[in-house]
Amino acid sequence: MPSRAYPGALIVVEGTDGSGKSTQLYLLKRWLEIGGYRLHFTEWNSSPLVKSATRRGKQRRLLTPTTFSLLHAADFADRCERQIMPLLQGDYLVLADRYIYTAFARDAARGCPGRWLRNLYRFAPVPDITFYFRAPLDVAVNRILSGRPKLKYYEAGMDMALSYDRAESFRLFQARILEEYDKMVDSDSFVVLDGTLPVNKLQKQMRDIVASKIDLKRFAPGLPAPE
């Protein structure tokens, strides 16, 4: 593996909507925070810089698969250049709720060419661990539909005209995304976790894997970032 230019570590969670990944990352973050480790948490699609453009594009339904993908890449580039890279260089543990694989899965499901997508995001640092929370389609979709009845237009994949029914469109879209995620398990070294397990069991697995793969002592309390 080529040497890398930063001392920090990057932990990423991925999975379809309703796979339980955000809950699990939150619990991991709490565990590390309570332990006093140096960490930063980042979410997909949260940069204020392009927020207004994204909102406008979604409200007026101006977005096509290509511009949808580019706008999210611009948003990610902003976070990457201003937060993720500097923090990794400054020896932080960075926890990311969704990462470039979300774009690979979702944009490929919309028809964007895989090679184009891979190029688009090749400035992104490769994670130290990528947890892939895998839940069967019905489980994940039902979790979302029961708790959040109002699906947004793009979230439901209505732009692809898969179905006139929003819930059905969402299901078909999520099925495509799940298929794209599954294709990346080996090529991108995902650590696959079973999203149907009880929350605390899953969290135990996650913590054990983090502790075994990452030298947490380096981020421990009382240790300032090395020069």
């Binding site: 593996m1 080529p2 890398r4 230019a5 930063y6 810089l49 392009v50 207004s52 453009a53 406008r56 594009g57 007026r60 101006l62 977005l63 096509t64 698969p65 290509t66 511009t67 580019l70 706008l71 890449a73 611009a74 580039a77 902003d78 990457c80 250049e81 201003r82 890279m85 470039i100 919309r110 028809g111 964007c112 060419p113 895989g114 090679r115 184009w116 997508l117 891979r118 190029n119 688009l120 995001y121 090749r122 400035f123 992104a124 640092p125 490769v126 090529s187 991108d188």
Partner: protein, 284 residues
């Protein structure tokens, strides 16, 4: 191998490790190379076809005018539009930062100067493709002549001089339409400076490449920056068979050459033209 195929080869090179100074992780595995479709995709796009687009629908012509600020692009486009309309052709124009999606957002980012180079490059790409999909392609489908005031070449040049990997940018614009004609109005940076200064009595921060810390002196910053951009254009001129015109020549002389080449492309025999009273002030 035809020139066009060679071109395609260049733009389709497998992704080399990115040379963005901060992008240092293991390169991501490249997706499987699935060549562009057999349906004439390469004739219309540099690499990949745009999602959901059928190239056989194109009946119009895409004509690109490139050149630095002060090279006379906008003047020539205004004149060409009038000439083409008088010849009975429908004309649509496009340019940088004109998309409904993010045109104004980019203006704001530039005004605040609070944006990193990669984010800005991707916002420009979003702006570009929004115009391609919502303005250029619909026009080309209906047989319209599209006059593009700059194209991917300016965007690539600006990125490259700021240290963004050339292959990265080529890949980004692999779904860009291949123009029917690309003109490059080549002028010396000194001439461009004088023209721009005369126009606005000032030189903007970005035009002078002030973000690149080339010089504290505005004039030298402009000259150095535009010289770097010009070098990138010289590289691309060969690769992309630009039609290079001397932008230092008079407006009417440049316009005549443009009309001749465009006339050939569109099958307009007589290319005589004198601007109307509304545009006469441009004709000097």
């Amino acid at each position: 191998m035809s020139d066009q195929e060679k071109e395609k080869e260049k733009l389709n090179v497998p992704v080399a490790p990115a040379d963005l100074s901060h992008a240092t992780g293991t390169p991501l595995p490249a997706a499987k190379p699935g060549g562009p479709g057999e349906d004439g995709t390469a004739q219309y796009f540099y690499g990949e076809a745009l999602v959901g687009f059928d190239p056989s629908e194109i009946t119009g012509n895409l004509i690109v005018i490139e050149g630095m600020d002060g090279s006379g692009r906008s003047t020539q486009i205004a004149l060409l539009q009038e000439w083409l309309e008088s010849e009975g052709f429908a004309v649509q124009t496009s340019g940088l930062r004109r998309s409904n999606l993010v045109g104004r957002d980019i203006d704001e980012l530039l005004a605040k100067n609070a944006v990193t180079r990669l984010t800005l490059a991707l916002m420009y790409a979003t702006d570009f493709f929004d115009q391609v999909e919502h303005r250029v392609l619909p026009a080309l489908r209906s047989g319209t002549v599209v006059l593009a005031d700059r194209f991917i070449f300016t965007l690539v040049a600006r990125g490259v001089v700021r240290g963004i990997n050339r292959d990265y940018l080529s890949g980004l614009y692999a779904m860009a339409l291949r123009p029917h004609l690309t003109f490059w109005l080549n002028v010396r940076p000194e001439t461009a400076f004088a023209r721009e200064f005369k126009k606005a009595q000032a030189i903007s921060y970005w035009e002078a490449g002030r973000d690149m810390s080339l010089s504290h002196d505005l004039y030298w910053s402009f000259i150095r920056y535009q010289t770097m951009i010009k070098r990138e254009f010289e590289v691309m001129a060969k690769r992309h068979s630009f039609i290079e015109l001397d932008g230092e020549a008079s407006v009417s002389a440049v316009n005549k050459q443009l009309r001749q080449r465009i006339g050939d492309q569109l099958g307009i025999r007589a290319t005589k033209y004198t601007p109307s009273a509304a545009l006469a002030h441009l004709w000097r």
